[in-house]
Amino acid sequence: MKRAFLGEFEEIVLLTVAVLDEAAYGVTVTQEIEQKTGRAVGFSTVHTTLQRLEEKGYLASQMGGATAERGGRRKRFFTLTATGRKALVDVQQVRTQLWEALPPQTLQLMGY
């Protein structure tokens, strides 16, 4: 089976969209990433990544309703597609397998 390839930042963005569930759009994703990872991310970088993930088919987007707080401009909400969810699961599985394959002494050293 061909496994999905996800870059590290792509994975984070994808996960964040999943975390935010129905409320994922540019601003929330950026702020969520900043809060959770503590790293400063470029606004346009997040947008670009969201765009790329949509092109790869992991995300779908639809325009929301008119909003009052941003001059009536609508938001573009992102949701995970089936492929997106599968990609996350795949990544998770690979990690788990690798973790399970770790020798016990290494695990001990890492504090497990």
Binding site: Y25, G26, V27, T30, Q31, G42, F43, S44, T45, H47, T48, Q51, R52, M63, T67, E69, R70, G71, R73, R74, K75, R76
Partner: protein, 874 residues
């Protein structure tokens, strides 16, 4: 709730321009929301910075790329659009045949005239700057100041150059040339050529000045003292073919010279117009000649210095002046340096034979060229804005379909460019046809050489200037039309536009009238100059100049020739003098003494060596005393003064009989002549001393009986050939040399005449176009008026009135301007006509009549049309 802080406006605009419309809403919304959040977090200033940074992050293909649409709005310079513009422009040109023709003719004439003028102006302004080392090359100027006016020479002693080369380390190279005293004769095979344009040059000449060698080389052409270098044309006249000339020999008097090189003809912007170049060494026929030139007192050479970069010219000048102090033992002379590029416009020299230009003429003609271009452009502006209503629907529809203002602007600009380029084609043809005439007139060698970069630049510049002048306003106007107004119908153009058009017509006619008035006044002044009695008779007198070498051998040669001429039938009288009476350039100061002379007064006077017979030939009038007489032996020491001299020397009456010392000879003042103009009328009559010293004479004047001219000239040539077989026979009639004095003015007058004609023609073309348009537009009104009983005269008057008013306003504006300009020009003459008021009336009448004639064709046609024709279509 306080209003939220807004992100930077400029950044927002940039974003809207940058990001594709289908992505913009979400991205801009996100950015704004983020901005509001950041303002709360880090403050306004840093949020703004962040906004800018984030925004620039969206300069990525995915965000910028537009969705393809079915209704694309291509960039206005897209090839498809360009071809569309050209197609529409062409259709319009063809549909409006008359207006297009008027525009084309006007622009072509204007372009041709101004390109010719620019060609000349550019040439004048670029004199001598084409030499690679022009920026570091200087000519030595010598200024002698004893008392009164300084004497400024462009020539230096031969030895000064040698000293400069040897003793001033900052001088990289020197070079010199001298012009022979008179044309040199070259014997080629059996033919004798007398070459006016020959010069003796240093061996470093070609290292300093750039020549293009067609045969031979710059480095070796001057290796031998017996060399001669020819220009292409000269080699062709002498040998038939420039290529075979090298190696051939010619005889310069008795010196054998070998042609070492052939160079390309002198450029029109070169000060050095010499076709035959011979090393200086070859000019010395004897040791005495050489010694003579090595003397510090003989200023025969123009000396050029090439300095090392960064050298102070003042310092070099001081060093040269020091040489005069040390070697010439002279404290009255100072040397200075004049940059090579400035030589052409520097006219303060007493003896500079290099061709001179006048900055005033250059600027004046340049201005005239620009004015003509403006007049031609105004035609286009007027016609295309007048015709705007016909294009209005096109503009309206295009705007509704989605054309932006910029695109429409571009379209109309491209239309005017197309017309200008077409006009340029016609203009090039006109230039090509008139270039021989122009060259003849300006004594230059311009050519339509399309490999010449400057010419291209000139053409391009004129086209761009024309497009800007003619295209921008109509394009801006047409592209500003509002579709709703246009499609609703009615008058699309505001009243102010019509006013603007009228203003332009006034400008055109004012400029034309100024040119007409100037032309008339110039010709008035020239007629005045030609017809003013100069105080002597110059009709039927021709003048011969004796060869310099023969003159030195005593007075016998000149006496023999005078006797022979006198014996010819048809000769009324013969006399001689040191200078031609028409333009006496000989002046003197220093040796004058008289009884009441103050010690510190050393006046400069013109000196004129004459003889007893001189007075009757020229019919000079005496106001006191007597003329020189053959039977008075002492008369060779006596002098006659002119009235100006009596006045400026402060002589007390009775003047006649006072002792007077001149040129170390003491005698008496035996008479006073009436003032006569012995120089051009630009100058006041200077004080003059006339004296009788036959040894000075170099010019023979022969007065011929009317009708005998041809026979006498043939006989005179025979006599000349018998005495001087190796010198060509050259004579000038005093009338001709008199006319020569005003050659520049004559030429300026003729040029003005031509350009005034062109300006009037172009203005009339424009007026014709407008009259046609107005007759067309008002044809229904005319029909109604005729039905109601208006006569043909009424209609013609109705149509002409508006335009005549404009011409009258133009006359009112032009007259004072022309008066001011021409008054300044007349002031350059010491003797000039009073400003003739009738010229203004005549020019005004001329303008009115021309305008009336131009309009009448259309107005009469419109008035004669059967009203049924114009009204039935309603």
């Amino acid at each position: 709730m306080t209003p939220l802080p807004k992100p930077p406006r400029l950044a927002d605009r940039l974003l809207e321009w940058l990001v594709a419309p289908h992505r913009l809403e979400a991205i801009q919304g996100d950015l704004h929301e983020e901005f509001a959040y950041q303002v709360g977090r880090v403050g306004l200033r840093r949020a703004q910075w962040r906004y800018w940074r984030d925004l620039l992050g969206f300069a990525r293909p995915w965000a910028v790329k537009r969705l393809p649409t079915d209704y694309s709005s291509p960039f206005f310079l897209h090839p498809d659009m360009l071809s569309n513009y050209l197609k529409i422009a062409w259709r319009n040109l063809v549909r409006q045949k008359l207006y297009s023709l008027i525009n084309l003719c006007g622009l072509a004439l204007g372009l041709a005239a101004s390109v010719l003028i620019l060609l000349w102006v550019q040439n004048e302004l670029s004199f001598d700057s084409y030499h690679r080392k022009a920026n570091t090359t200087y000519r030595v100027t010598n200024t002698l100041k004893v008392s009164g006016e300084p004497w400024i020479w462009s020539s230096s002693p031969l030895v000064l150059g040698d000293l400069a080369q040897r003793q001033i380390p900052d001088v990289e190279r020197i070079t010199r040339f001298k012009k022979p005293w008179q044309p040199i004769n070259f014997r080629v095979h059996d033919d004798i050529f007398s070459e006016e344009n020959s010069a003796f040059i240093d061996s470093t000449w070609f290292a300093c000045f750039d020549y293009e060698f067609l045969a031979g080389s710059a480095t070796h052409a001057l290796d031998e003292p017996g060399s001669v270098i020819l220009t292409e044309n000269k080699a062709r006249t002498w040998f038939g073919d420039p290529q075979t000339a090298v190696g051939k020999t010619v005889l310069m008097d008795t010196t054998l010279l070998t042609v070492q090189a052939v160079v390309r003809n002198n450029r029109p912007n070169s000060s050095f117009r010499y076709d035959v170049l011979v090393p200086i060494a070859a000019s010395f026929k004897s040791a005495a000649d050489r010694k003579n030139d090595l003397d510090w007192n003989n200023f025969n050479y123009q000396l050029f210095l090439q300095l090392k970069p960064g050298t102070s010219t003042a310092k070099i000048g001081q060093q040269l002046t020091q040489f005069y102090r040390a070697y010439k033992k002279d404290s009255t002379l100072t040397a200075s340096l004049l940059p090579l590029k400035f030589i052409h416009f520097e006219t303060s020299f007493q003896n500079d034979e290099l061709p001179k230009g006048s900055r005033n003429t250059v600027w004046m003609l340049g201005l005239v060229g620009l004015v003509i271009l403006i007049i031609a452009s105004i035609n286009y502006v007027n016609l295309s804005t007048a015709l705007a209503s016909q294009r209005a629907k096109e503009v309206g529809v295009k705007k509704i379909i989605g054309a932006g203002r910029g695109a429409l602007f571009g379209q109309f600009l491209i239309e005017s460019t197309l017309l200008t380029v077409l006009a340029l084609g016609v203009a090039l043809l006109l230039i090509w046809l008139s270039l021989p005439l122009f060259n003849d007139f300006t004594e230059n060698q311009f050519s339509l050489d399309l490999g010449n970069g400057t010419l291209w630049l000139l053409l391009l510049g004129s086209v761009v200037a024309t497009v800007v002048l003619s295209g921008v306003y109509p394009a801006a106007l047409l592209s500003s039309l509002l579709p709703v107004k246009v499609l609703k119908g009615g008058n699309v153009l505001s009243l102010s536009n019509a006013k603007f058009r009228q203003g332009l017509v006034v400008t055109q006619f004012a400029a034309s009238i100024i040119l007409i008035i100037s032309t008339m006044i110039i010709f008035q002044q020239l007629r005045f100059v030609q017809s003013k009695d100069p105080g002597y008779q110059r009709d039927h007198v021709f003048c011969l100049q004796l060869p310099f070498s023969k003159m030195m051998s005593g007075t016998r040669a000149i006496d023999v020739m005078k006797r022979q001429l006198r014996e010819l039938s048809g000769v009324a009288a013969v006399t001689s003098a040191n200078q031609p009476i028409v333009n006496n350039m000989s002046s003197h100061s220093g040796s004058l003494k008289w009884a009441a002379k103050p010690d510190d007064f050393t006046p400069a006077v013109s000196q004129f060596s004459v003889e007893p017979e001189f007075r009757s030939v020229f019919d000079l009038k005496l106001t006191a005393g007597r003329w020189f007489r053959r039977d008075m032996r002492l008369d060779t020491a006596n002098v006659i003064l002119n009235e100006a001299a009596v006045k400026s020397l402060g002589l007390k009456a009775p003047v006649v009989g006072q002792w007077f010392e001149f040129q170390s000879r003491r005698g008496q003042i035996i008479g006073v002549t009436q003032d006569f103009n012995f120089k051009s009328l630009h100058e006041k009559i200077d004080p003059m001393v006339l004296f009788d010293a036959p040894g000075w004479h170099a010019y023979i004047f022969t007065k011929v009986n009317p009708g005998a001219t041809e026979r006498v000239l043939a006989d005179a040539e025979r006599i000349w050939k018998a005495s001087y077989p190796d010198k060509p026979f050259k004579y000038t009639f005093l009338d001709d040399s008199f006319a020569q004095l005003y050659k520049t003015e004559q030429k300026a007058g003729q040029l003005f005449n031509v350009f005034a004609g062109i300006a009037v023609l172009i203005s009339c073309l424009g007026l014709f176009g407008l009259a046609t348009f107005s007759a067309e537009r008002r044809h229904r009104e005319i029909g109604v008026r005729k039905v109601l009983g208006a006569s043909v005269q009424n209609i013609v008057a109705l149509l002409s009135k508006d335009f005549l008013k404009l011409v009258l306003v133009a006359i009112v504006i032009a007259s004072p301007l022309a008066w001011y300009a021409m008054n300044r020009w007349l002031q350059t003459f010491a003797y000039h006509v009073a400003m003739p008021w009738w010229v203004f009336v005549l020019a005004g009448l001329l303008a009115v009549v021309t305008a009336l004639l131009t309009i009448s064709f259309q107005s009469i046609r419109a008035a004669l049309t059967n009203p049924v024709k114009s009204l039935r279509s309603e």
